[in-house]
């Protein structure tokens, strides 16, 4: 099935459909959560009554999420849904598909050289320092610098440079390291919404005790915020340089404020039948499937990398995806990256995998060595099908009509999701697959283009969709190689 033969069927959702979607009860959601067998348990008692972060205007927040997968896609697989991209077929109308060049990646060896270029565009400052912000952080900085970011995902071997496992960069090119344990994702996103009971609280404490503790934590945080505000204010005893440092500290608090203490306005631990509350039903803290040592930053390559059955790898990735989806629905996260395997793809997947009418035994040594250096395209096709099917799973969670945004559209329709990888075939810095989904009406979708372009051209088009000037590439002198304005609505 080719992109250009896919009929555009997307239509505006009717008012009735929206109403029906919003009217899904929380109880039904919880049942539904069970029937689709997601691994994430939910707490019936706790839900958010409203949006945690407080969206402006129409109540639909600006959200930009990048999704990375390691290695890359052969250009011939990027043109249709008959191969590794088959899992995206249900989202064909929501996506725009590109091949970009990342030739500005010239620091470090293979898998390091493009690692700080994907989603950034600028030429890197050094192997582990990007030449500018990742696209999600660039937009965040322009629209709301305190909006919450989440960086999470899976990898088991970092390889020759830290950047292989880094996907989100601040304006100065410094990275925001990803969280690997699902339980830690939970703690960062939901931990304070459901405050830890105070140590003095009896184990059978009722909701009122938890609520009281939430109020105390809020008061503590408000006092702390006031202290920082004082030092940056007119009566501060500090000079400009020190003020700036404390201003940065204050921004950092604001950014994770929702993790430190719940806000008075949004927490309602009674839940109720409010459909919006249903959308924000809060998950229970997941346990981390014991598939490898999460805390070990890097394993060796080849046989020294951990062997993991693909079903177990998928289970953990989907836990991340589930947490992400709830975090986006609840407006606890707006920007960041969900990573499916680091650059280089060195996890040793095992098990028999079938798709596309074919099957293969994942070889138990790293995908990288077997598929790329071993140059076995058959295995690579199925491996990449595996990767895309999991990213498609994340898209599916974001596109669930049971949990609409305030405008009645799904999170996927309103948010911008940029999927990208590091190479074309076998370490080539040309024809690097990228796709843009959703976009809230900012972007055209339902097409694939063969136009030659650099990553900066695509990222600038995405930035332009958010009203930003297309200046990516200027800082490090990366030249445009084509026109990506086809993306813009």
């Amino acid at each position: 099935m080719a992109f250009w033969t896919t009929k555009k069927t997307k239509t505006a959702r009717s008012a009735e459909t929206r109403k029906a979607a919003r009217a899904v009860s929380r109880r039904r959601f919880l049942r539904g959560a069970g029937t689709v067998a997601i691994a994430l348990p939910f707490l019936e008692e706790l839900s958010l009554a409203g949006r945690a972060y407080g969206a402006p205007g129409d109540g639909v927040p600006d959200r930009v999420v990048t999704c990375f997968f390691g290695l890359g896609l052969d250009p011939s697989w990027q043109r249709d849904f008959d191969g590794p991209l088959a899992p995206y077929a249900p989202f064909a109308d929501d996506g725009a598909f590109f091949s970009v060049n990342v030739g500005q990646g010239d620091e470090g060896g293979a898998h390091c050289n493009t690692s700080t270029v994907v989603f950034v565009g600028e030429r890197q400052r050094s192997v582990n320092v990007a030449g500018g912000p990742s696209i999600d952080q660039k937009i965040r900085a322009a629209l709301d610098p305190t909006a919450p970011t989440l960086v999470s995902g899976l990898w088991w071997r970092r390889g020759a440079c830290d950047a292989q496992a880094l996907r989100v960069y601040n304006a100065d090119g410094s990275p925001r390291p990803p969280v690997k344990r699902p339980s830690e994702v939970f703690d960062r996103v939901f931990g304070a919404v459901m405050p830890e009971p105070d140590p003095g609280t009896p184990p059978d404490a009722d909701l009122e005790a938890l609520r009281r503790e939430a109020r105390i934590q809020r008061s503590v945080l408000d006092t702390v915020l006031d202290e920082y505000r004082h030092y940056r204010g007119d009566r501060s005893p500090l000079g400009p340089a020190s003020k700036l440092k404390l201003e940065q500290h204050l921004s950092s608090i604001r950014e994770i404020e929702r993790q430190l203490a719940p806000s008075d306005e949004v927490i309602d631990m009674g839940g109720g039948d409010d459909p919006m509350a249903a959308g924000c039903a809060l998950p229970a803290r997941p346990s981390d499937p014991p598939i490898a040592d999460y805390d070990r930053f890097t394993y060796g390559t080849g046989g020294a990398a951990p062997s993991i059955d693909w079903r177990e790898f998928q289970q953990v990735y989907r836990l991340h995806a589930d947490l992400w989806a709830v975090a986006l629905r609840c407006d606890l996260v707006r920007f960041g990256n969900l990573m499916f395997e680091s650059a280089g793809g060195h996890t040793n997947l095992q098990g028999s995998y079938s798709a596309l009418g074919e099957s293969t035994d994942f070889p138990g040594d790293s995908q990288h060595d077997s598929y790329f250096h071993g140059n076995q395209p058959h295995h690579a096709r199925l491996y990449q099908h595996f990767a895309q099917s999991n990213i498609a799973y994340f898209l599916e969670q974001m596109d669930d009509p049971a949990f609409p945004d305030a405008n009645g559209e799904t999170v996927l329709k309103n948010a911008t999701v940029v999927v990208g990888t590091e190479y074309g075939w076998n370490h080539s810095k040309e024809n690097v697959f990228h796709a843009v989904f959703g976009g809230g009406g900012r972007f055209r979708s339902g097409f694939h283009t063969d136009r030659r372009m650099n990553a900066i051209d695509l990222y600038n088009a995405i930035a332009a969709g958010y009203g930003l000037s297309p200046d990516i590439g200027e800082a490090s002198g990366v030249a445009s190689e084509g026109d990506a304005s086809v993306l813009l609505a």
Binding site: D198, R215, V220, Y231, G239, A241, K245, S252, E255, Q259
Partner: protein, 559 residues
């Protein structure tokens, strides 16, 4: 040695000056210092006859946050409760500007905030913390007790009395929590939890604008107040908060006078366990030990060995400059064997190296050799850059990007079995390389007989015999002459007596103590302190001189 590389060095000298490769602060050429050599702000070379120290330019104030280590020490010392697992959530500090406590090199990320929050929650929840909360001598629901608790807890956590605004803000928090009917203890804990995340606790802050606009000609300089001095002293000497005696001395005005400061320094130096924290951090940061790889599982031993060497030197009150050539080492059995020595026993043990020419000194400790080798560019380049920067306080520039193709071609053309020295000699034959490399590569030749982990060897991995003869570059000599050395032992003696190495050692200690990098405006103070230490003065003597010096006691007032 073949004389041709030396000739190339001479030919490259002019080019080297043009590239700014010879800089040291207060040396001939100032590297990337804004006050360029020969310019109006150039402080000149203290080794020149007739040199006069420029007037001290006090440091600009900059709030700096407590390092992770200081945070832990502070909590343990002040509240009696040390952080546990939560401390792991605070990001590890990186010595971006030389030492982890240097304010201009510190970042603040959401991960820090998350870590501080976790630490505050964990520490205040510890049952033992209640003892600290009762510091005001009361634990009852009265308003008076709330007020006294806020005042006394605040004085200890903020290292000074709270001002009226702060007192009111934390009393209001106390009242808000007490209104939840959760009892005195929870309310007091909430106050401490907030204080522990506030700038008054997490940052070393000063009343930076005090005195702005008054004064007579020195309006942009102020002397630190008593409490500011108390914190500066305690973090410089103990890596922790002032104790009660120091806060009392501040309150009594004793820290406004050199005699009062000196008395406190004497008292503080007696607490050797606390002073040892600063010693350890100096060695770890100065020798860049924290970033050592640990693939052979020896990182911990290398660090412990280097730290033990300096700690022993400091505790014995040995001459500061003797650090460079003390004939001792502190080795584990494995490190001793790597040096060809008979292990003296388990753990880190002292070894007397007298009679073993070419061993010893801080620079000769295996951990320090490993630290100076842990960088790109081959052992000689990595070590040379380290030595020029850390021992002689030079600022070598990065290789010009325009030379990258030539550097790549040079590297590609090298024989695989070439010794480091052969590569070095080839590099020096090329004027565009020698322009900079001649300034630092020769400093590293003395360490040729040690591998990247500081193990002693007679030949390299290709079977090339090793030669540790070399020379100190002419740019380091007051008379502009190269000074040859015949091996590491002789080299260490030259360094120990070298006025610039001595000043640099003083400068690095002062930077750590002040949490700030020094520039040419402070060179006069560095020279004075180096002279005050003299031949026999110890590290403690340096701290005594520093604590009462205007460099330590004054600060510029921002415009």
């Amino acid at each position: 040695m073949d004389s041709s590389p030396r000739l190339a060095v001479l030919l490259a000298a002019l080019l080297g000056v043009a590239l700014g490769c010879t800089g040291t602060i207060g040396g001939p050429g100032a590297g990337d210092d804004p006050e360029r050599p020969g310019g109006p702000g150039d402080p000149g070379d203290p080794d020149d006859p007739g040199w006069e120290a420029p007037e001290l330019r006090p440091l600009d104030p900059l709030a700096r946050r407590l390092t992770r280590e200081e945070l832990a020490h502070t909590l343990a010392d002040v509240t009696g409760v040390a952080p546990g697992a939560a401390l792991e959530e605070v990001p590890v500090d990186r010595p971006l500007e030389g030492f982890v406590n240097i304010g201009s090199g510190q970042t603040v990320l959401p991960d820090h905030v998350r870590g501080y929050h976790a630490v505050a929650r964990e520490v205040t929840a510890d049952p033992a913390f209640v003892g600290f909360l009762e510091v005001a001598g009361c634990a009852d629901p009265s308003e008076a007790c709330a007020r006294d608790t806020v005042r006394e807890v605040g004085r200890r956590l903020f290292r000074r009395p709270l001002d009226a605004r702060e007192q009111a803000a934390f009393e209001a928090l106390f009242a808000a929590v007490a209104a939840e009917e959760v009892g005195w203890e929870r309310a007091a804990r909430a106050v401490a939890e907030a204080m522990l995340q506030s700038p008054g606790f997490l940052y070393l802050l000063q009343d930076e604008l005090a005195g702005r606009g008054d004064g007579d000609g020195d309006a942009n300089v102020r002397t630190l107040g008593g409490y500011e001095m108390a914190s500066r002293l305690s973090y410089a000497l103990w890596a922790s908060a002032p104790d009660e005696a120091l806060l009392d001395a501040a309150e009594a005005g004793e820290l406004d006078e050199p005699a009062g400061i000196a008395a406190q320094v004497e008292r503080m130096l007696e607490d050797e366990a606390k002073v040892a924290r600063v010693t350890e951090r100096f060695v770890v940061d100065w020798a860049r030990l924290a970033s050592l790889p640990d693939e052979d599982g020896r990182k911990g031993e290398l660090m412990a060995s280097a730290v033990a060497f300096y700690d022993d030197h400091a505790r014995r009150g040995a001459p500061l400059y003797g650090l460079f050539d003390a004939e001792r080492a502190f080795l584990t059995p494995a490190l001793a064997e790597a040096w060809g020595l008979e292990p003296a026993g388990e753990g880190v043990r002292a070894y007397d190296l007298s009679g073993l020419d070419g061993r010893g000194g801080l620079l000769g400790q295996p951990g320090v050799i490993a630290g100076m080798t842990n960088a790109d560019g081959g052992a000689i380049v990595a070590r040379g850059l380290f030595l020029q920067h850390q021992v002689f306080c030079g600022s070598p520039p990065d290789p010009p990007a325009s030379l990258q193709d030539e550097i790549d071609a040079f590297a590609a053309a090298l024989p695989e079995t070439a010794s480091d020295r052969e590569v070095f000699e080839r590099r020096l034959m090329r004027a565009e390389c020698a322009a900079c490399h001649a300034q630092f590569d020769p400093l590293a030749l003395a360490f040729e007989r040690y591998d990247f982990r500081g193990a002693f060897r007679e030949e390299d991995e290709h079977g090339n015999a090793l030669d540790d003869r070399g020379w100190l570059p002419a740019s380091l000599d007051a008379d502009g002459a190269e000074v040859a050395y015949a091996g590491l032992g002789e080299y260490l003696g030259l360094v120990a007596a070298h006025p610039r190495a001595r000043r640099c050692l003083v400068q690095r200690h002062a930077e750590q103590a002040l949490g700030a990098t020094l520039e040419s405006g402070q060179i006069g103070a560095v020279v004075e302190l180096a002279e005050a230490v003299g031949e026999e003065g110890s590290r403690a003597d340096l701290l005594r001189a520093l604590a009462t010096h205007d460099l330590f006691r004054t600060q510029r007032v921002p415009e």
